[in-house]
């Protein structure tokens, strides 16, 4: 990066140019694991966005206090604290989503997207840029997960956000809500994304 990029570009890069899921392939486990419906994808996206935003802020604030040798464990502790908060809040207030996301909530800790942004961005930049970076990346991640969830839900159960679009006894492509469907849907979505983003440039 030669010149300082504007906040707007900084925000947009997370959504399109460096989209965490389609371009950088970060955080693939939750991307594939929880997107059997659009609602789950959105929930996971927002939970990750929150952790990413908070950890970027904290890392950016304390970056000068952390000796560089122990920075990775320190980042992990910061991230894990926020993940624990998310876990407790979800369990208390949205138990339905907590059940659905299951093991993938504690696993937000090892989502490489979050540690990656802490290491590559927040530990070098000021708080404001880190917030914008986190928002862009987090929203890019949320959009990708919701999109994948929506595609799988429409094909697999014929509904969107639990709103039925076909009659109760219509047969749907159940494959898409099963594990293989996650890989296949994401494969075609990333072809589409590459196509659209090269066209846009």
């Amino acid at each position: 990066m030669a010149a300082e990029i504007s906040h707007k570009q900084n925000f947009l890069k997370g959504i399109i140019k460096d989209n965490p899921v389609f371009v950088m392939l970060l955080g693939m486990c939750p991307t594939l694991g929880v997107t059997s419906s659009a609602f789950n994808g959105l929930g996971m996206g927002i939970a990750t966005l929150f952790v990413l935003l908070m950890s970027n802020i904290v890392v950016s604030l304390v970056k000068s206090q952390i000796p560089s040798k122990v920075r990775i464990p320190a980042f992990i502790v910061i991230i894990a604290s926020f993940v624990t908060i998310v876990e407790m809040v979800l369990e208390a207030f949205i138990p339905f989503l907590y059940e659905q996301l299951g093991i993938f909530i504690p696993l937000i800790v090892v989502n490489c997207l979050i540690l990656g942004r802490a290491e590559a961005y927040a530990s070098k930049k000021d708080v404001m840029s880190s917030i914008i970076d986190a928002l862009g990346m987090g929203i890019g991640f949320t959009i990708a997960l919701t999109l994948l969830g929506a595609v799988r839900e429409i094909l697999g159960s014929g509904s969107l956000f639990n709103f039925k679009m076909v009659s109760e006894d219509a047969s749907t492509l159940i494959l898409f809500i099963l594990p293989p469907g996650a890989f296949i849907a994401l494969a075609y979505l990333s072809v589409l994304f590459n196509k659209v983003s090269t066209k846009a440039n």
């Binding site: 894990a80 093991i103 594990p179 890989f183």
Partner: protein, 191 residues
Amino acid sequence: MEYILILITAVFVNNIVLSQFLGICPFLGVSNKVTTSVGMSGAVLFVMTIATLVTYLLHEFVLVPTGLDYLRTITFILVIAALVQMVEIMLKKVSPPLYQALGVFLPLITTNCAVLGVAILALGLESGNLLKAVFFAIANAIGFALALIVFASIREQLELADIPKGMKGVPINLLVAGLLSLAFLGFTGLV
């Protein structure tokens, strides 16, 4: 008998990579050659077993008695990170050839969600005990190795295949993983 069931479930029916989506990053990242995927599988087997052993004991004898159960995520990830470092240092001293083979993969394992995932899942086993938890970890590591090595073998062949331009790279790999996962779906109902 119970242990055979755990083994078959973990390796085929609920394969950790292909049906539970844990450890996708190394699955896609280091699977371009069979030799590297064997190395990665070895490192995962090693770390996953030790990590589950330590975290299970820690959970059972420290976190639960002191009522600090909610600190599970933080404790586990720290233990795993420290453990990976320790294993690396010890291997370097004790067995240089093994270190040569596994060394480069060890740092990657800290953020391998399969390790943390299995450590957490092992706590929820039915009538679980330490032996069962460790066996569960080993079974899952074998499942991981199977998926990774099969996938790497297919990818080596893919290098030679004529693939449409838009599908090259990530999409075709995901598609192959999807088909592989479909094949493993056939094991449903086995147990």
